[in-house]
Subunit: 199 residues, 2 copies
DNA sequence: GAATCAATTCAACACGTGATGATTCTGCAT
DNA sequence: ATGCAGAATCATCACGTGTTGAATTGATTC
């Protein structure tokens, strides 16, 4: 009874905080930064608006906490770089499209992209995070001198695919099975990561 | 004096309408749909806010008029499809990167992409227009049965490149000369348009 | 049972937005 | 000179936003 931290109600006992964060993730992903309102988030979470600000401070800070990468780079990158180098494009393509098949994975990716497109400040933060946690380690794993450019080109194809398939909703892509797209995109990623870039 | 259309001041005599449209294009491209305000547009054009609504009606209709393709498909497509088929990827890549080198071309492309990412309704309209005016004709020119998928895949790479290079601002891409990127992207577009998609 | 502290809600502010209708200004035709 | 249509502005509305501070509720500890 001596080291009891504090008196009063248990903090975070009701899980409301998590409910708000979940609702925020969903709305940011579906609507982007601007069109997401604190009131909408609060309604989804079933709480009052003021509680959102009370827990997370201003909207920007809430977004920073809600926008996280759809996977853990530390878990994914070794699996990519360890296997045979001639297969890295296909492994990457498969991983991306598997992520897109899961609702939460898809939601997080579209959320990042929508936010990056709509808010300059969000774009800056996302660029830094993706670059630091994903592209730079990938480039270092590749080892080539032009590896940063290679990793960025691969990233551009991935972003474009998500954008065209899930944000804009281009029909031939939305109706294609993941397997078909893996087959189509894999050689492209392989080209960017290990092929000859100059003709 | 009988067939004179109407009396009164010449319509559009002062060029203000065009000034408003130009300002709208610039702001939509830089800020996206939501963060672009009619007041900002009016300030740029040096007129009162009400004049914007007076000329173009509601914001959505203004956007529809401001968001135009950065080039005329009727002029570009023949040049793409007429040449040798083994070169179509390179010609397309060069055309895209040349467009991106011009400030107005770049502005229009980023504008379309920012708007598509931020507003569902804008995304719908842009998808329809790009599909109808660009992808379908391109697919018909290709003639293959899976041409719509091919054209969409090529489109996804182009969108991703613009997104990564000019919206997010990934450094290795922003600092690469157009020529380098043409060399890197051309074989990819060639693969999508004429290569074998299944392994 | 009383005190305490966090969780939660209530109520309201200050602000910027898109939109509208009335009003003034200006150049051309009569 | 006069009338008038269109260009341009003024003043204002109704609304939704993010944010803030006070008030309320409920569980926990003394």
């Amino acid at each position: 009874m001596t080291t009891r931290p504090r008196a009063g109600r248990r903090p975070g006992g009701s899980g409301t905080r998590e409910a708000i964060l979940d609702a925020a993730r969903r709305r940011f992903a579906e609507l982007g930064y601007d069109r997401t309102t604190l009131r909408g988030i609060a309604a989804d979470a079933g709480v009052d608006v003021a509680l959102v600000s009370h827990y997370f401070g201003p909207k920007q800070r809430l977004f920073a906490q809600a926008a996280s990468l759809p996977f853990d780079p530390a878990l994914v990158l070794p699996g990519l770089l360890d296997g045979p180098r001639e297969d890295i494009g296909r492994r990457l393509a498969r991983h991306v499209l598997e992520t897109l098949d899961s609702p939460t994975g898809r939601r997080r990716m579209t959320g990042l992209i929508r936010a990056a497109a709509s808010e300059r400040q969000a774009a800056d933060e996302i660029r830094e995070r993706v670059s630091r946690e994903l592209l730079v380690p990938l480039a270092e794993g590749l080892g080539a001198p032009d590896a940063p450019l290679r990793a960025s080109l691969a990233g551009s194809q991935i972003v474009g695919l998500v954008m065209a398939r899930h944000v804009v909703g281009l029909e031939p892509l939305t109706e294609s099975a993941s397997g078909v797209l893996v087959d189509a995109v894999a050689p492209v990623l392989q080209h960017y990561l290990t092929g000859t870039l100059a003709p």
